[in-house]
């Protein structure tokens, strides 16, 4: 289980970011421990995606610090995030539709031969190996990912994170485009990754899913943090109340 005596894996302190005068994220602090799943809940536009994009390097916060293993780090772009073993699975999946699974898995980090050319067969072999573990039914290695189903595409995106040994995984509505069976697959995968000691930020709309998959939940509204609670301490109604009314439940507010 989660070990809370350690320093947190990630600590986002007092993060603020605004776009054209609108505060998208307003002095928000969250933390994440190894082997823990923290859900980020809120309406569309509540600021959860924006907050997490500061961690993945897609945005730069206006103020506030990000600490990894207790050390302050600068994350200016997605490459910096990768260097800190932060991997992101985006809502839009961030796959290049016209390339095959292997090219997508290794995008930006291609395996090359001694002469500096991309080594397609080696990458395909590695992809077959990792997919054999994550999604044994996956067969379409030669086809562009456009031809894959939502679940298959999702498994390519997850494989990318797993292959490069992410320590911190950000999942932006990973099951939004998936059917029940594929959702179950992702849920099992999250449990497995937790056991390996990864810290996972899970952005989701669905309070039931958060209650089921997460250890703690951070609820945001209008760019502000409503509260960071243990999911076992609250009911789904409490969570909904936090999302909609922006109020912490009575028994925790005290």
């Amino acid at each position: 289980m989660t070990d809370r005596s350690d320093t947190p894996l990630v600590e986002m302190r007092d993060i603020s970011i605004s776009f054209g005068g609108i505060k998208a994220v307003d002095h928000v602090s969250v933390d994440l421990y190894p082997g823990e799943v923290v859900g980020l809940l809120g309406h569309n536009g509540a600021g959860k995606s924006t907050l997490i994009k500061c961690l993945s390097g897609a945005y730069r916060q206006d103020s506030g610090d990000i600490l990894i293993n207790g050390k302050k780090v600068e994350i200016a772009n997605p490459r910096d995030a990768r260097d800190h073993n932060i991997e992101t699975i985006y809502q839009t999946l961030a796959l290049a539709d016209n390339l095959d699974a292997a090219s997508n898995l290794f995008l930006g980090r291609e395996l090359v031969t001694a002469l500096g050319f991309v080594d397609d067969s080696a990458m395909e072999a590695e992809t077959r190996r990792i997919m054999g573990r994550l999604n044994p039914n996956f067969r379409k290695f030669a086809a562009p990912v456009k031809a894959l189903s939502g679940g298959q595409r999702q498994s390519v995106a997850i494989a990318r994170a797993v292959y490069f040994q992410a320590r911190i995984l950000i999942m932006d509505e990973p099951t939004a485009a998936l059917g029940p069976q594929e959702t179950q697959m992702v849920a099992e995968l999250i449990q497995e990754l937790k056991k390996d000691g990864l810290g996972i930020f899970l952005i989701d709309h669905d309070v039931h899913q958060v209650k089921r998959l997460c250890d703690r939940a951070a609820v945001m509204k209008n760019g502000e943090l409503v509260g960071l609670v243990k999911v076992d301490d609250v009911t789904t109604d409490d969570l909904l109340g936090m999302i909609i009314a922006g109020k912490k439940p009575q028994h925790l507010a005290a």
Binding site: P78, R82, T88, T92, A94, L95, A96, D97, K146
Partner: protein, 430 residues
């Protein structure tokens, strides 16, 4: 494996093509090209498919084809370059001025062996710098490529004019003129050697690709399919060279050559032209560009960016710098095309490369490059250029009125894209 066999029954011919793993779109383009050739050959009573005309067709295609390979990268990354014709003119003007004015002023006389290489280097540099600059405007300042290169269309055309005062610059250096086509060929023996090298390389490439797949225990094509591929490649290469070799140097030209050497021509002596250096240059460009597209990170990033710019960016690809690189490559290829075009004319003229941007874009699009980005092949673009040039010169031979020629070419371009769209929709392929 068993699935493939079970599905084999309904359509034998489709399965045959599948086993060979030949791109059906490529097959369609080759088919269209063959039809064009046969139709014109019939209409001209066999004058279209003579070695002489095929030779001419080849050297006429080179300049546009070289640029079309670069246009593939530009369009694949969801940009466009309308300035290639003008950029060609500026590069050509720089190369012409370097050899007739700048270098002689520095003390290098006409005929000095250094003149051609220095002039070409200056041209390539000009192309790279201007192309890179346009790429910077697009990538870093986020000005749409359409606008940047539309401006470039005017700017570089008139920079060329200013450089030369609008004069025709020539005659150009003799070594430089070797890249023009008929003025510089490998000769029959050299061409056969080249053909054999080509065949060997093709076979090795097919075989080593197979070995790589076997090494990783991936499914491979049956051996007969690989051998058939090699055979097709070999026949195409040898046939092409045989045709170019069959075009004989006119006897009066040979006469003059022997006279210049102070000898008299032996009775019945003949000599074939063989592969022109300009075609050799195109082949080299095609090979390099194909390797870049398929086997380098740069190429992978170009296609990834075209497929999904956000994904590329989030994967840590510097898409701005990538844009600069793509346009710089385009610029270098414009310079090479300018070299071939001006060497073929033996002088630089003020209107060189006019309307080439349209031919180049049309060649790339007919060759299957999707304007939506992410899809395109180098060989397709070259084939597209060849089809365009065949249409144009075929109609000229048949005697179609000039306005109708352009009307038909325009119509064919639109039709080709329509066919491509329908094909994509039907197959659901990329």
């Amino acid at each position: 494996m068993t699935d493939a066999n079970a599905a084999a029954a309904p359509s034998r011919s489709r399965n045959f093509i599948k086993t060979l793993e030949i791109d059906t779109r490529l097959l369609g383009m080759v088919g269209a090209f063959v039809v064009v050739c046969i139709v014109f050959n019939v209409m001209t009573d066999g004058r279209f498919l003579t070695p002489r005309n095929i030779f001419n067709l080849t050297i006429q295609t080179v300049s546009v084809a070289i640029m079309a390979t670069g246009m593939v990268f530009v369009i694949v990354t969801r940009h466009i370059d309308l300035s290639v014709g003008s950029l060609l003119a500026t590069c050509s003007a720089m190369m012409a001025m370097t050899q007739t004015s700048f270098l002689p002023a520095m003390g290098l006389d006409f005929g000095n062996p250094l003149i051609a290489p220095v002039a070409i280097l200056v041209g390539l540099l000009t192309g790279a710098v201007i192309g890179g600059f346009q790429g910077w405007l697009v990538g870093y300042l986020s000005i749409p490529a359409f606008i940047v290169t539309l401006g470039g269309l005017l700017v570089w055309r008139n920079v060329a004019w200013y450089l030369t005062n609008g004069q025709t610059i020539g005659p150009l250096d003799e070594t430089y003129q070797l890249f023009g086509g008929i003025g510089g060929t490998l000769g029959t023996t050299g061409s056969w050697i080249l053909a054999v090298i080509g065949v060997v390389v093709t076979c090795i490439a097919v075989w080593s690709a197979r070995r790589a797949r076997i090494r990783h225990e991936f499914p491979v094509k049956p051996v007969w399919a690989e051998i058939a591929l090699m055979a097709v490649g070999a026949v195409l290469i040898l046939g092409f060279v045989a045709v170019l070799n069959a075009y004989e140097v006119p006897s009066r030209v040979l006469d003059r050559q022997f006279e210049a050497a102070g000898q008299s021509m032996p009775e019945g002596y003949s000599e074939g032209y063989g592969v022109p250096y300009s075609v050799l240059l195109l082949i080299a460009v095609a090979v390099v560009m194909t390797v870049v597209a398929r086997k380098t990170r740069l190429g992978r990033y170009i296609f990834a960016t075209g497929g999904n710019p956000d994904a590329a960016e989030l994967s840590g690809i510097n898409t701005r710098l990538l844009t600069v690189k793509v346009f710089a490559i385009m610029g270098v290829l414009c310079a090479l095309a300018g070299l071939v075009a001006s060497a073929r004319l033996s002088f630089h003229s003020n209107d060189i490369g006019t309307l080439d941007e349209l031919r180049v874009i049309a060649a790339a699009v007919i060759g299957g490059t999707a304007l939506a980005g992410g899809v395109g092949t180098i060989y397709g673009a070259i084939l597209g250029a060849l089809i365009m040039q065949s249409l144009q010169s075929g109609m000229a031979m048949v005697g179609v009125d000039a306005p109708f020629q352009n009307i038909i070419v325009g119509g064919v371009l639109v039709l080709a894209v329509l066919v491509d769209i329908i094909y994509r929709r039907k197959t659901g392929a990329t």
